[in-house]
């Protein structure tokens, strides 16, 4: 690992990137990631294999809740080709999976052990693991493992009175409460109060690639490697090392290609620890590839909440207070996120509106289902649905137009930055910048909202059941505290950018390369981005919470500017010019006065800065720099979703006819990739609004365990989508002005479609739960 060229890592203020499109920032350039992926040269988890590897298979609980009396592994052990079978007793020295993302105390008793001991708490919980010569054989052996479980009544309703989790611990480990303003007075003095009970169904990321983990132990170097990592490799590395009693430097995690993350992949799961432990104990590489049915019961679920919300308004429909009590269905254990989704829901519920008083109580409740955690727009998809249902209800109650009610309540540009006496993820909620009414107008205009109303009225007159809906949202992004990037130029002019960020397939490499290239004055295709591995950089925060472009992007910008300054200083000496007269264009040093005449390639500057160069005597060699970006506050993207739906009266089917997502993200580094994020995010939101649900029967048996039962939308279900990528409100919190673009496409879909279905039914408030099922709509049509 090369040392950085100089050591000033302090967060010295750097110039902001000039607004508008640059040579490569702001351009729709094609992705660096794509060539290997379209050729079939990708390296996804299942593509990683090592000689002599064993296949691991997890034996999972067939029962939702019960006492685990015994596990008979004799037949499995006797099968030729089986090397080991472990139950909880074999891993008793390994602590349960810890938390990384919660301030809430007292959750430790609810952590998941890597293999169930004593109790089973959801169907699908790991009970035992089998290690065999190949995956077929491992599955044969797993079928021979026989658990004896005494069934207990399952807890399946998070709104029911809490039960006992363990003696002395109820199934409600905490209630997340936030409050400001005089809520009681607001309700006392209100012109009107609306009250709603609303539910969001259990669904999740469900990436096309299932999880996978491949561990090997290199005894020659006393090094444990875990492949198939994603999202949070540094934190996971540190925790795996701690739990296995190894120094962090003796464990390395490697992220290859990642077949979609969406929040669920890359958290520390029992299987990650089990393969590592097995590689150490069995002294052979161990490979685990989750199968799809496992995925549906093993990988984090999300979203399921029930809200009882009241809003007090004045005579003009202006919000005076919101009082929300909600119940979060966490499933069988608390996983790495702790109570994060509840905290986010509570902190983000007010959204874009001026809210004088607010009180929320988020009941975090354990049930006997697959544990839940974050999924794209966690806590926001849910609360945007809830809040926007409230706004529609206010409009209906006061006889006001739905758009007008929102307009009256939106925080205006003059009120920015808008601080709320509220926090989430441990940071104060300060809406940093934005023109909410402006984007609303732009979106309505683009969608032809006014003319649309007349057209819908005409179609209704002709017997159609059609309607339009709206949802306004505020996202959050750029969670701190810090990210660092190291950039080094080699003798050929090639650039290596080493980041602690991760990539779950969204285009991180291209975006960081674009920022680097813009600042440095080179072709973005010369930048090789290293990410997702712990052996190349000491720290990293991975990829989550729409933070990479904001945090790692800003660090990249700083590091590239530093490298540029070093290159110009060196070139100035070599060229007998003042550094201030020089620039870098297309990878060559040029005079500002004559930018078309290349004077010296950047690689040559790097060569002059090598360890053998006389110029570097007494200095740290290398044309390289490491820079960090720190942020104490998140930055808040925002947007509008608009939908038109048509309901089939005969079946209750809701078809979305067309849709618009408008999202202000401050600056689009690559508009094509931003649009890709919004489009893909929208279809996931569409899934949660109309199709996708993890259902359970009354005994806690999961019913959505295949792709035939868990309905991911296909192309045929996706309507024409219009996108507005707005850059009206650059973030003042980072030098690029960027806000995250990963979650705005998903955030408002449930809200907008619910609003549109109400409108089609001509029944405000008809939709009270997601997903909106055809049979529910059909029943509404008949009542």
């Amino acid at each position: 690992m090369s040392a950085a060229g100089e050591k000033d890592y302090q967060a010295s203020p750097s110039p902001r990137l000039a607004p508008g499109a640059g040579r490569v920032v702001g351009q729709r350039v094609t992705r660096l990631e794509d060539a290997p992926l379209v050729r079939g040269d990708g390296m996804f988890a299942a593509d990683v294999s090592f000689p002599r590897q064993l296949a691991m298979r997890v034996v999972r609980s067939p029962i939702a809740h019960g006492r685990l009396l015994s596990i008979d592994t004799a037949a499995a052990r006797a099968l030729p080709g089986v090397h080991a079978v472990w139950t909880a007793a074999d891993v008793a020295d390994i602590p349960p999976i810890p938390f990384r993302a919660t301030k809430v105390r007292g959750l430790e008793p609810y952590c998941q052990p890597i293999l169930a001991a004593g109790r089973v708490r959801y169907a699908g919980e790991p009970l035992a693991v089998v290690f065999a010569d190949d995956a077929y054989l491992a599955e044969d052996a797993a079928d021979l493992v026989v658990p004896d479980i005494e069934e207990l009544p399952p807890v399946l309703d998070a709104t029911a009175e809490p039960a006992e989790f363990l003696p002395g611990h109820s199934t409600e480990p905490t209630v997340v409460r936030k409050e400001y303003g005089d809520v009681a007075a607001a309700f006392r003095d209100a012109h009107a109060i609306v009250e709603l009970a609303l539910s969001v169904g259990r669904h999740s990321g469900v990436p096309l690639e299932t999880r996978g983990a491949i561990a090997r132990y290199d005894a020659s170097r006393d090094l444990l490697e875990l492949h198939g990592a994603a999202k949070k490799q540094h934190w996971n590395r540190d925790e795996i090392a701690r739990l296995l009693g190894r120094p962090p430097a003796g464990v390395h995690l490697f992220e290859g290609h990642v077949g979609g993350g969406f929040g669920v992949r890359g958290e520390l799961y029992p299987e990650d620890l089990l393969v590592c432990l097995a590689a150490l104990r069995l002294r052979r590489p161990v490979k685990w590839i989750e199968d799809r049915r496992e995925h549906m019961v093993a990988t984090n679920h999300s979203r399921q909440q029930h809200h009882r919300i009241r809003a007090a308004v004045d005579g003009q429909g202006r919000l005076l207070a919101i009082d929300d009590v909600f119940f979060h269905d966490q499933g069988g254990y608390v996983r790495t996120h702790g109570a994060r989704v509840v905290d986010l829901a509570a902190g983000m519920l007010p959204g874009p509106y001026r809210l004088p008083a607010y009180r929320v109580a988020g009941h975090f409740r354990l049930t006997n289902k697959t544990p839940a955690a974050t999924y794209r727009a966690p806590g926001r998809f849910e609360t945007t649905f809830v809040r926007e249902r409230v706004m529609d209800a206010i409009a209906a109650r006061l006889g006001l137009d739905r758009v007008e009610v929102r307009r009256r309540n939106l925080v205006t540009p003059a009120e920015m930055p808008h601080a709320r006496p509220l926090d989430t993820l441990g940071t104060a909620v300060v809406l940093d910048s934005g023109d909410y009414p402006g984007l609303l107008d732009t979106a309505l205009d683009r969608f032809g909202w006014t003319a649309l109303q007349a057209d819908l009225a005409r179609r209704r007159g002709a017997g159609e059941c059609v309607g339009a809906g709206i949802g306004f949202f505020v996202e959050k992004s750029g969670l701190g505290p810090s990210d660092g990037v190291r950039i080094a130029v080699d003798k050929t002019g090639g650039v290596e950018l080493i980041s602690g960020a991760a990539s779950v397939g969204q285009g991180v490499e291209t975006v960081l390369a674009q920022i680097c290239a813009e600042a440095l004055g080179i072709d973005y295709r010369r930048v090789r981005v290293v990410r997702g591995r712990t052996d190349r950089i000491e720290f990293g925060n991975g990829a989550h919470a729409s933070r990479v472009t904001v945090m790692s992007g800003s660090a990249t910008y700083r590091a590239a500017l530093a490298v540029r300054a070093m290159a110009l200083e060196t070139a100035a000496g070599l060229l007998q010019a003042a550094a201030s007269e020089l620039s870098i264009v297309d990878g060559h040093v040029v005079r500002l006065a004559d930018p078309g005449a290349p004077l010296m390639p950047l690689g040559e500057v790097a060569r002059h800065m090598g360890p053998d160069s006389a110029l570097m005597v007494g200095r740290t060699p290398g044309l390289s720099a490491e820079r960090w970006f720190h942020s104490a506050h998140m930055t808040y993207p925002y947007g509008v979703h608009l939908a038109v739906v048509r309901i089939d009266r005969g079946t209750g089917e809701v078809r979305v006819e067309r849709y618009l997502v408008a999202n202000d993200i401050g600056r689009a580094i690559n508009p094509m990739l931003v649009e890709g994020q919004l489009a893909g995010g929208f279809v996931q939101g569409l899934g949660g609004a109309l199709f996708e649900e993890f259902r359970y029967d009354e005994t806690g048996q999961p019913l959505s365990t295949t792709f035939a039962d868990y309905l991911i939308p296909t192309l045929a279900e996706v309507p024409p989508l219009d996108l507005i990528v707005s850059e009206q409100a650059p973030s003042p919190l980072n030098p690029l002005g960027v806000k995250g673009a990963g979650e705005g496409g998903t955030n408002g879909v449930g809200a907008a479609i619910a609003s549109a279905v109400d409108d089609a039914l001509r029944r405000p408030g008809a939709v009270v739960s997601l997903p909106i099922l055809p049979r529910t709509v059909h029943a509404l049509l008949r009542t």
Partner: protein
Amino acid sequence: MKPPVFEYHRPASLTEAVDMLGGLENARLLAGGQSLMPMLAMRFAFPDHLIDLNRIPALAGIAEDGGTLRVGAMTRQRDLLDHPVVRARLPMLAEALEQVGHRQTRNRGTVGGSLCHLDPAAELVAVATALDAELEIAGPRGARTLPMAAFPLGFMTPALEPDELLTGLRFALPALPQGACFTEFARRHGDYAIVSAAAILWPRDGRIGRASITLGGVGPVPVRLEAAEAALAGQRADAESFAAAAACCGALDPMDDAQVPAWYRRRLAATLVRRALTTAWERADVR
């Protein structure tokens, strides 16, 4: 999701296949595999022997034979869908096949495989019932034929002895002018239907001469809506008649589960019957 161990057999002829089926314990036939493979991958099925019918040329093929179309059991759904005689003379069969899975599954999935799997929601089961297909069955005691209506004995249970196999089926090519429609409701494009309806109307003197209405996905086996068929005979083909026919669905006793309650299946059936009849009449040659 790896299939369990089994012994694989690949007979080259029908005789060989019949012999194997009669001689091997716990054997299953492998046709297109589009339903059996998922069942094996999920380890819902544990056959000791799989008899692969894919390399018996005589089992596949489509031939027009006088007034009938003979379809070998191992004919791919795609080949049947693309067959010019099906397109021209049995458009309802094509309409149903277009809604069977997707291109990849129709390229492998066979006509006989789908019929013998007998999923209550399968389009081919419903449409073969609607078209009164005649099934050809072979076994150690020789060949026999069976009308499609007599084939499903119950939920996913065909009227085949353990040592028998379906070799083909015959569709009568319609001689009289008629209009037909197959329509279904599925949550997503390509999914199994929740409910499907197949309607055939034979016009006579500008009115409905005869009607055939078949529902799939309502019960464990396809249902003929006989009351509605009888009521429609001789009626004017208008919205009122079709609504009255659809109302007969109120008497159905459909399958009931958490996802699709019986009341909803009944209403879907009524909607689809009305739509199928309306479209069938639009397609009927009433000159």
